[in-house]
Subunit: 88 residues, 5 copies
């Protein structure tokens, strides 16, 4: 999993029917303290009612469809939790 | 998922029978505002009648075969939606 | 698999129910001798009671859910063993 | 999928029984016009009788075993089509 | 698949029961002629009795568990063949 900050949202009306109703977030991956950006942004489905500026962690690849009811959903990234604290 | 602009098309007559009839697009991944290129191009199957210059989002890996009827299609990237708006 | 040192822990109370009870570690991948950092940190589930400073190896992608009982767990990285010795 | 030129071949007599009879090509990924190398070479199984110098496209990850009859073949890259033309 | 040289071995007594008895090699990926290192080392399971200094090819991701009898083994890289010759 990776740590990211929610920095925006993508709106798409024309899309696969399987993706209807899913909220698409723009995530900026963060370095280990969660305070500075690191690497390229990505688009991820939200399973956690995450809002702008929140620190979350996300999964990629096939695992990204597991938070959602639909089988075979065409997703490759999903937010799966909010981060409360990072201990280093 | 990633954001990309459709920049071209690939034509291939000799290919796996499983891939017959699929339109293959050339995608240029874009940075977060959708206005500048970022990273290397790729070839993706089109499930959304996307045309040149359009901003889309796509999935990679096994998820890429889910938009299509055929099971086990040998695909690793697919356009799954058009982007209407990006809020940052 | 990759070699990493455990450098911290992530706490997340709001998350997918599937992830309840899993310990999330922060891993710093290491170069081949196991003595210097190499590459970016990641968050991985712990199947091996690994503690801070320990040298471990981990798997990524779908394989990361195999150490755990729950099927379809939304995980993409997991510690699967402690490293005793590296012979070069 | 990615675009590549066939630049060589790998011979391996001692290997997994599942891989017997598969032709292994060395592919050089190409930039978008198909005329200049871009990125690192890889080894891919051939499902398309591709020869040296030919421009092809290939899939990676689990999708790479789909062109072949055997289930569970330990492959992570396969040529799936010849490229006739690239429109930009 | 990628080409690599076997450069060492990892010993791990505390690990997932699924991984018992698997030999873990340290691989150094090589450039296309097989004579110079290219990229970062990784740890892979051995299905081919490969020894130090030998040139092999390996698969990554889910494919890496296919050479082994156990289903769901938590592996993401495996040596699947020895390389006899590379033709360029």
């Amino acid at each position: 999993m990776r740590i990211a900050k929610v920095i925006g949202r993508v709106w798409a009306t024309r899309k696969l029917p399987d993706l209807e109703g899913l909220k698409l977030l723009i995530l900026q991956p963060m370095e280990v303290t969660g305070s500075r950006p690191q690497g390229d942004f990505l688009v991820a489905a939200d399973s956690q009612q995450a809002g702008p500026g929140e620190l979350v962690y996300y999964v990629t690849s096939k695992e990204a469809s597991f938070p959602f009811d639909r089988k075979f959903t065409a997703l490759d990234a999903a937010v799966v939790g909010h981060i409360d604290r990072i201990d280093l």
